[in-house]
Symmetry: C2
Subunit: 140 residues, 2 copies
DNA sequence: CATATATAGTTACCTAGGTAACTAATTTTC
DNA sequence: GAAAATTAGTTACCTAGGTAACTATATATG
């Protein structure tokens, strides 16, 4: 079973690295892209919503969002709750989304193109089950 | 297809986090564990051998190996080639291996126990194919 | 054999994940 | 309605991935 998880992490590292290479022209990184992607799909969101969606801790999200804000890819949205930091894509952010989206879609499609649909579905479902199981684990 | 890779990375993050929690008592981290594991299986190795095996860049390996050396879990092995830094586990390192190995084996087994063997095999093979494909990608 | 090239490893610095401890605002509870 | 508890986000600092540029040694080549 060691080999299974070893290989799993191997692909994860390589995949992230390649995504980074593909969007380097846009001065974007994979983790930044994932937030841009989320904001395009969800229009506006708080940091906690993003944190929950990706199951990534808040400080990590804070930092990445700050970088997107520095680059003016996102902007603040008014909110009744003063604790919240609600954000959305700017015009520039949408533009970057469009460009990155094309590159990444092509990359991902090309990656899976020769793999049988059934195998991909089983793989997806298996990872889903692993994810469900690992999330049920009590925190040690 | 976005969902596929999104979920893939999700599990990867959570898995690493849980491994870290499980071996925190041993003052070990997942990446340190992976090198300890490699050295137990391969007796002695150079940093380049480790770097190639995990497909992780040399500076990352240097740093992690330094931490293992600081903790006296590894030691230098004589080498004819003066450029090389050949290392192996110390007694203490072997002891930590035994302890971590037990914890991690149990964790991984429990994670996959309810998943059909066939599904795991297909998943393994599919990731293997993805890995092969992504490694063939010319560097952008 | 002297020079050029390749290889092993390190240093400096970037992004990205984590935890712990904190502030400020909101919600619950008494 | 005041005090307590919860929630949103930040700061500081840890490990872990990356690239670029470097040193030192070993190997190839003319």
């Amino acid at each position: 079973m060691e080999a299974f998880f070893h290989q799993y992490l191997q692909f994860s590292r390589t995949f992230t690295k390649k995504i980074n290479e593909h969007i380097a022209d846009l001065d974007l990184y994979q983790s930044q892209w994932s937030i841009v992607y989320y904001l395009q799909k969800n229009k506006a969101a708080t940091l906690v919503e993003i944190s929950n969606y990706f199951q990534v801790e808040k400080p990590t999200i804070t930092r990445t969002v700050n970088r997107l804000e520095d680059r003016q890819l996102i902007e603040k949205v008014a909110s009744a709750d003063k604790r919240e930091r609600r954000i959305q894509l700017t015009e520039k952010g949408l533009d970057v989304y469009d460009q990155a989206s094309a590159v990444i879609d092509a990359f991902e499609k090309q990656l899976v193109e020769e793999i049988p649909k059934d195998d991909l579905e089983i793989t997806f479902r298996t990872i889903q089950r692993l994810l469900f199981k690992i999330n049920k684990e009590e925190s040690v």
